[in-house]
């Protein structure tokens, strides 16, 4: 009896929904502020709910707290909708709240069906919210789905399940849904939900939550800026305190910049938060068992970058679940646990943020990659045979490549890793792929901390300034005019440079851009650049200072040229165009090269090593293997401190012992010059990362290849090497035994 009553209630509900949907319809002009706020708040609540739901499944022990959180989200929606007059939303939220209430009171166990049902409730609520945002009314076209959902929720609650279904065993839920809604409709609903989800996030792109504290600080700094400006205007350039004002302006600007950057920073966790649900749904669709683990969610990343890597990351996660992790049966056969593990890791590494997606799945089978590449005509079979593992992995990033044996609904639609790579490189990042068959695959996205300000090298060519992003810069080579004929060699029409016995294609920037050639007699510079796997030498007339540049977008007409990614105002007030390294390579016809060649080359020359040659004592050349030199720092002499007769340097929160065998510091002290600075090589064992020390040198001379000489009596058991055919002492051994291993040389 109760059952019949309930059904009629639902039917009546539908009617009232219809009228409800129609009443606000005339007012379709838009959504008022109050509703807008409500939508934003509710979306936040639903995001939280989504997170909690997926957590609930993995950590049932915390269920009480999680359920309370979910309950709050739904309850808030219900409360506010009633007030705003969205009847349909209220009804659905009410049904959800009812079920959650039972769950909270411990009357229901947490089951997979229950969570699926709650997720459907979440989708339903979200769909209505999006409808309200788009049209201003909650509409009625999907009213029937609501009643189905409400009935499902009620049934999950153990209430009056329809009699014909009540006799069936527990897993009736999915069947029931299939019966009530024809499958095409449910599919449509699913895709609609996915669509609304993306549109919802796009409206979120434009807004950003900022801590009021940060905003206050910004305001303070802007006030400071105004005050400084006033003082500057009043005092004029000639005034005595002008330098001080300029300094203040400098510090205020730096602070302001930092604060604004901080405001733009968003924890990566915001992005990760979307994945548990996605992975859960995907795992269902693909018949996998997947556990997802996070680390480094608090790592901050610029808002715009976070948006930029969202799609590539989503794609990578999809790939990992669909192609990476095997089906439970296969996993057990392979001796692994049935449940696959997907790890998302974010961390800082040398000025950029690294985001790793790794799975412990089947890995990428080289044969399949190669077979596919041959089939797609990306390589010829002969080439494929000779390819190494790493080379083959690079093929995955080529356009039109997908290893999925069959096109599934999840992935393998031709939008592949090439798009991932292109998107990440667009924001100045890079992508790496590592894979071991049977062990797993790791995809590493490396993105800069922020987009707006990038370190760059400013160069001149044809009388114009250009900025090259430091991320693409590998090294710089100076070619004196007299050597030009000798070092620039020709292969057909193209010119190449022999860089460490490898031929590097040379691209003349002035010729490429058809600039007026102002040939200078002194020689030219070549910047060795690498982007999208292309390595080439860009020839420019002169190098200016490295600068942190603020990237300004170009107008559409200039973007169309395709060679410049933006422009920047330099310190001297002139403009410089920022060169798009990858596009320049493409324009010049430089093709990606395989890294392996270089690796092999390195192996061959193992007895030969690169040395950093410097002068510590006058007239004497000393060298260090390049591998142990971390940085070359120029340090003001005043920063060198002394303790019990030993020179020390505070370097990045670490106390470094300084070796000063050439008595450089003493000589410098003799000069009585406060502004003077010394050059210090920061050295450390690359393997152990311990035993760091600083070596004070007079002058850094060169980086060169050399041969170690064998120790014998003739040279007095010293470590000597021939670098550029000149005798050079080798400074060696600092891990631990700093003092002892320091060799005296005549």
């Amino acid at each position: 009896m109760r059952h019949g009553k309930r059904l009629s209630g639902a039917a009546r509900g539908d009617k009232s929904l219809l009228t409800n949907g129609l009443v606000p319809a005339p007012d379709k002009r838009g959504v008022d502020d109050l509703t807008q706020e409500f939508i934003a708040e509710s979306q936040d609540g639903l995001d939280r709910m989504e997170r909690c739901l997926t957590e609930l499944e993995t950590r049932p022990q915390d269920s009480q707290q999680l359920v309370a959180e979910i309950f709050r989200a739904v309850h808030t929606i219900k409360g506010t909708t009633g007030f705003l007059g969205f009847g349909r939303l209220e009804k659905l939220a009410h049904a959800g709240e009812h079920l959650l209430g039972s769950l909270r009171d411990g009357r229901l166990p947490v089951t997979e069906e229950l969570i699926s049902g709650l997720l459907r409730l979440l989708d339903g609520l979200r769909a209505i919210l999006n409808l309200i945002e788009e049209t201003g009314s909650e509409g009625s076209r999907a009213g029937d789905e609501d009643s189905a959902l409400i009935a499902e929720l009620a049934m999950l609650n153990g209430e009056e399940a329809p009699s014909q279904l009540a006799e069936k065993p527990a897993p009736v839920v999915p069947i029931k849904v299939a019966e009530e809604a024809p499958s095409p409709a449910s599919l449509e609903a699913g895709s609609a939900a996915a669509n609304t989800q993306t549109s919802g996030s796009s409206s979120g792109d434009k807004t950003l939550r900022i801590d009021v504290e940060v905003l206050n600080r910004m305001m303070n700094l802007v006030g400071e800026l105004v005050l400084t400006r006033n003082q500057m205007l009043q005092s004029g350039v000639e005034s005595t305190n002008f330098p001080e004002l300029a300094r203040r302006l400098d510090s205020v600007t730096a602070d302001l910049r930092e604060t604004v950057m901080q405001a733009r920073m968003q924890p990566v966790g915001n992005l990760f938060g979307k994945f548990p649900r996605m992975v859960r749904d995907l795992a269902r669709t693909c018949g996998r068992e997947v556990r997802i683990e996070f680390s480094g969610q608090e790592t901050g990343l610029d808002k715009s970058l976070l948006e930029a890597i969202k799609d590539p990351l989503t794609h990578a996660v999809r790939n990992a679940v669909d192609h990476g992790i095997e089906s439970p049966a296969d996993r057990v056969l392979a001796g692994k646990s049935a449940e696959g593990c997907l790890r998302l890791r974010a961390f800082h590494q040398s000025g950029s943020v690294v985001i790793e997606v790794s799975d412990d799945g089947a890995g990428i089978a080289m044969e399949r990659v190669l077979a596919k590449a041959v089939e797609r005509g990306l390589v010829v079979p002969e080439q494929a045979k000779e390819m190494t593992e790493r080379e083959a992995l690079q093929l995955i990033f080529l356009p039109g490549f997908s290893t999925a044996a069959a096109v599934t609904t999840v992935s393998g639609r031709g939008v592949g890793m090439d798009v991932v790579r292109a998107n990440v490189e667009k924001v100045g990042g890079s992508v790496e792929l590592e894979s071991k068959v049977g062990v797993g695959t790791t995809l590493r996205l490396r993105v800069p901390l922020t987009l707006a300000i990038v370190p760059a090298l400013v160069v001149r060519s044809g009388g114009q300034s250009f900025a090259l992003p430091q991320t693409a810069l590998v090294e710089l080579v100076y070619i004196p005019a007299r050597d030009r004929e000798k070092v620039v060699e020709r292969v057909g029409a193209s010119e190449v440079y022999r860089l460490r016995e490898r031929l590097l294609p040379m691209v003349w920037l002035d010729r490429l851009l058809s600039l007026k050639n102002e040939t200078e007699a002194h020689g030219f510079y070549m910047a060795v650049l690498e982007a999208e796997g292309c390595r080439y030498g860009l020839v420019v007339d002169d190098l200016l200072a490295p600068e942190e540049i603020v990237v300004k977008p170009l107008s559409a007409v200039l973007r169309e040229i395709g060679l410049f990614s933006g422009a920047t105002v330099l310190g001297n007030g002139t403009l410089a165009l920022i060169l798009d390294i990858a596009a320049t390579a493409a324009r010049a016809g430089v093709k990606p090269v395989m890294e392996e060649q270089e690796q092999e080359a390195v192996e061959v020359r193992q007895d030969e090593a690169s040395f950093l040659v410097f002068e510590d004592r006058a007239r004497e050349r000393t060298a260090l293997p390049l591998g142990v030199v971390e940085r070359i720092e120029s340090v003001p002499i005043s920063r060198v401190e002394y303790a019990s007769g030993r020179a020390l340097l505070q370097y990045r929160g670490e106390l470094l012992q300084l070796r000063d065998d050439g008595n450089v510091l003493e000589d410098m002290d003799g000069l009585q010059d406060e502004e003077a600075s010394v050059t210090i090589l920061i050295c450390g064992d690359p393997q152990t990362k311990s035993g760091r020390m600083g070596i004070v040198v007079r002058k850094v001379l060169d980086v060169s290849d050399g041969n170690m000489l064998e120790k014998d009596a003739a040279n007095g058991e010293m470590d000597l090497a021939l670098v550029n055919e000149r005798l050079t002492t080798i400074f060696r051994g600092f891990a631990g035994e700093v003092g002892k291993s320091w060799r005296e040389v005549a």
């Binding site: 044809g462 114009q464 851009l513 058809s514 170009l554 107008s555 007409v557 200039l558 422009a567 403009l575």
Partner: protein, 172 residues
């Protein structure tokens, strides 16, 4: 009542007259509605943009933005001037945020013109100039050719495809 009447009279007068900023390029005098000019920057050195369409004189920094600047001489098909030109900043009032610069040989002053003195383009004008010009005012000391800033927008110019390889008749 009286005040209202005065207002309406002024309004009607305003509708009939317009204030144009006069500027020079080659031998001719041109004018742009002062309301559409954001700022006259004066003589500026531009940073050239290699490989850009011929009508782009270069880029110039302006209030934290990088402005694409159109060379009016190039549009007219005149040879490049050896002297530095004057740069005007024009606003795009069509809603888009596209501000741009216009480089001319020199900027005169503000001229008030009467609507009735405006005459449409002569029908013998070639297509490029027809696009650029918006009629001419018959002034006492010669003709003042009216320009429509909307049509000088770099993106519009690129769309027409007429000025890709330098403007003007013989030069193209």
């Amino acid at each position: 009542m009286k005040i209202v009447a005065q207002d309406s009279q002024e309004l009607s007068e305003e509708a009939e007259s317009a204030s144009l900023c006069s500027m020079f390029a080659g031998e001719e005098t041109f004018g742009i509605d002062t309301g559409k000019i954001r700022e006259v920057l004066g003589k500026r050195e531009l940073e050239r943009v290699p490989m850009a369409p011929a009508f782009v004189a270069g880029v110039v920094p302006y209030r934290g933005d990088v402005l694409t600047t159109v060379s009016f001489r190039a549009l007219l098909g005149l040879p490049e001037n050896t002297e530095t030109g004057c740069v005007l900043v024009l606003d795009d009032d069509s809603g888009g945020q596209e501000r741009f610069g216009l480089m001319v040989d020199g900027v005169g002053g503000v001229v008030t013109v009467q609507q009735k003195m405006l005459e449409a383009n002569p029908c013998t004008l070639d297509a490029k100039c027809k696009w650029l010009f918006d009629g001419a005012y018959k002034m006492e000391n010669g003709l003042l050719i009216q320009l429509d800033p909307q049509k000088l927008r770099p993106s519009r110019l690129a769309e027409t495809g007429m000025f890709r390889n330098g403007g003007g008749g013989e030069n193209a």
